[in-house]
Amino acid sequence: MRILLAEDDPLLGDGLRAGLRQLGFLVDWVRDGDAAERELRTQSYAAAVLDLGLPLKDGMEVLASIRRAGITLPVLVLTARDAVPDRIRGLDVGADDYVVKPIDLNELAARLRALVRRAHGQPQERLTVQGVALDPAARTVTQAGVLVTLSAREFDLLHALMLNAGRVLSREQLEQHLYSWGQEVESNAIEVHVHHLRRKLGSALIQTVRGVGYVLARELLKLP
């Protein structure tokens, strides 16, 4: 899951990035409000962690601005401002969650997963499609009760497809889910990962829509 972290404090930003990476997130870290807004407008993130006291542009302004632009990704505001009016304003402007520093990294990760899940209309943490169950917190996948070992990228790819089950995702969209900045993306990387997933989970699970991308059907179509 790729998220944007907007935090101007070097130590905290570094710690959050490292911690969230340990917990399986792909983290892009920006240190000012302008960069945060630019990234949110141009890149596709599963969610964003936004500090409010950002230089150049206040976090609240960034939030209001992207909401006006129709960007609906889940935003978790992480701030030192704990006054109730601040919280209310943050939520009203468009934050999906409002967390006061300091926060436990596991809790932050859980909140982010919950935000992403809800954004995709999933009430439960575990995603189950066609007998394949994915646990985002434990980062495990089981098929018919049997644990399937996946690489981190394969897991992220499957997670993205399962979250968007029934929707076709383009190769570019999938790449954005899988790679953070600076990571070299081989031109056929997605194809390779899809290939591996099909080998491990069966070829019928992920379907190719030629010229568009890939889709994971909600229900296995019974072919006559």
């Binding site: 101007d8 070097p10 130590l11 911690g19 030192a80 520093k101 990294l105 596991n106």
Partner: protein
């Protein structure tokens, strides 16, 4: 006698004391006056009676007269007595008069008034004699009778006053109580206040004597409210500012715990330590700011700013050299200002630290202290990136907010610098450095004549 502690008691005591004093004085004067008048009147009666007896005796003298006791005609008569002697022999006397002359004839015969004791009683006696000097007349009156009159006069004139005294005391007590009622009202209002209530106190119809006190009290409330508000804001801000470093320490520690690789763990642990140092520095700065904010009086003495500048640069030099920066100080001649050496030191250190931190490797930081026409100027130039005029503006206006720059500063340095400058009534100017291209900070200590 000790004055009572209560104003009411004090007023009551004074009023009643004065009244009683005036009455006593009046009584004394009356006593003296009445006694004088009484003596005059009764003495004249004695003299008159004596004269009468002398005349009568001169008319009635015969050789064979015997001492005759005059009858007692009235119950008051025993209080007066007379004796008439003819050629040394008692001719007549009142029944209560002794046989011996009331006054002894020793040498010169007595004449005029005397007060003597006869049979243990004080008598006022008038002695005189006839023209032929053969008749001697004594008329006496008991002194006690005069005193009785005196007392009677005093009783009737001062008695009602004595009776009125308790009533007067009661009236005075009531009046004084009414008079000090506003004081009691204020006292009650203050006693009922909660410690948080610092709004001005208002007493309806407060007497003009109380207005200065109430005004002073309200001004005090105002100052306390301001102080409390600034304390409250400070505490909130401090807690707020400490959240980020603590969050960083926590995150880094958690990363270290969860790190799979040694390098990652090492990095996180070092970052944790760095976070602790930063939190400690922040606390230190908060404490300095809190001391500055508390409004305590700072003792300003003559301080050589040039010497302080040299010391600070000497201390900071290793840091600058570590970043391969050039650092220099131009402060040769003593420049005395009235100030607090510790605070000034903190201020200069903040400025120099900032310059070193924000300037890249290879840049120069230059501190100078000069004295021109009694104005001591401290200036700091650096070859760093400088600041946009917008940021300079914000630097001036912002208080206690992190100055966002990507650098790990608390943003308190500037607040502290400005506060310390304010304590010294110094003017701070921030501009682009003409000599080095980065930031230029000038602090003027105006009107500080060098002694």
């Amino acid at each position: 006698m000790r004055m009572p502690r209560s104003l009411q008691g004090r007023l009551l005591l004074l009023v009643l004391g004065l009244v009683v004093g005036v009455w006593l004085a009046t009584a004394t004067l009356t006593w003296i006056d009445v006694r004088h008048e009484l003596d005059e009147l009764l003495d004249s009666h004695l003299a008159q009676a004596a004269a009468l007896l002398v005349v009568q005796q001169a008319a009635e003298i015969d050789d064979d007269h015997r001492g005759v006791d005059a009858p007692t005609l009235h119950r008051y008569a025993p209080k007066v007595a007379f004796q008439v002697f003819h050629e040394g022999t008692l001719a007549q006397r009142s029944s209560n008069a002794p046989a011996e002359p009331m006054l002894e004839f020793t040498g010169r015969a007595p004449d005029g008034f005397r007060t003597i004791a006869i049979g243990g009683t004080a008598w006022r006696v008038f002695a005189t004699r006839g023209r032929e000097r053969d008749v001697q007349v004594f008329v006496g009156e008991q002194v006690e009778s005069r005193n009785s009159i005196l007392w009677a006069v005093l009783r009737s004139s001062l008695g009602p006053m004595l009776l009125a005294l308790p009533l007067l005391a009661l009236a005075a007590w009531w009046a004084v109580r009414q008079g000090v009622a506003p004081l009691r009202l204020v006292g009650r209002a203050l006693a009922q206040r909660s410690p948080q209530a610092l709004q001005p106190i208002a007493v309806k119809g407060a007497p003009s004597e109380m207005t200065p006190m109430l005004d002073a009290l309200n001004r005090l409330f105002e100052r306390i409210a301001d102080l409390l508000e600034s304390e409250r804001r400070f505490t909130a801000d401090a807690a707020h500012e400490l959240r980020t470093p603590i969050a960083a320490i926590r995150a880094q520690a958690q990363v270290a715990l969860g790190a799979a690789a040694d390098a990652e763990r090492l990095h996180a642990l070092q970052a944790t330590l760095q976070g602790c140092d930063r939190a400690a520095r922040l606390v230190e700065q908060l404490l300095i700011l809190s001391r500055l904010e508390s409004g305590a009086e700072h003792v300003l003495v003559a301080v050589d700013l040039a010497a302080l500048a040299r010391q600070v640069v000497a201390d900071a030099a290793p840091l600058a050299l570590g970043k391969r920066q050039g650092i220099e100080v131009d402060a040769t001649e003593p420049c005395t200002v009235r100030g607090d050496a510790t605070l000034l030191s903190v201020m200069i250190r903040n400025l120099v630290d900032n310059a070193i931190r924000y300037s890249p490797s290879g840049a120069t930081v230059k501190l100078a202290v000069s004295n021109a026409q009694g104005v001591v100027e401290l200036s700091l130039d650096d070859g760093g990136p400088g600041m946009s005029s917008d940021d300079m503006e914000r630097l001036g206006k912002r208080f206690f907010r992190v100055v966002g720059s990507g650098q790990e500063g608390s943003g308190l340095g500037w607040s502290i610098t400005r506060r310390i400058a304010a304590v010294h009534q110094a003017v701070v100017r921030v501009a682009r450095s003409r000599s080095l291209g980065g930031l230029s900070v000038e602090i003027d200590f105006p009107g500080q004549r060098v002694a």
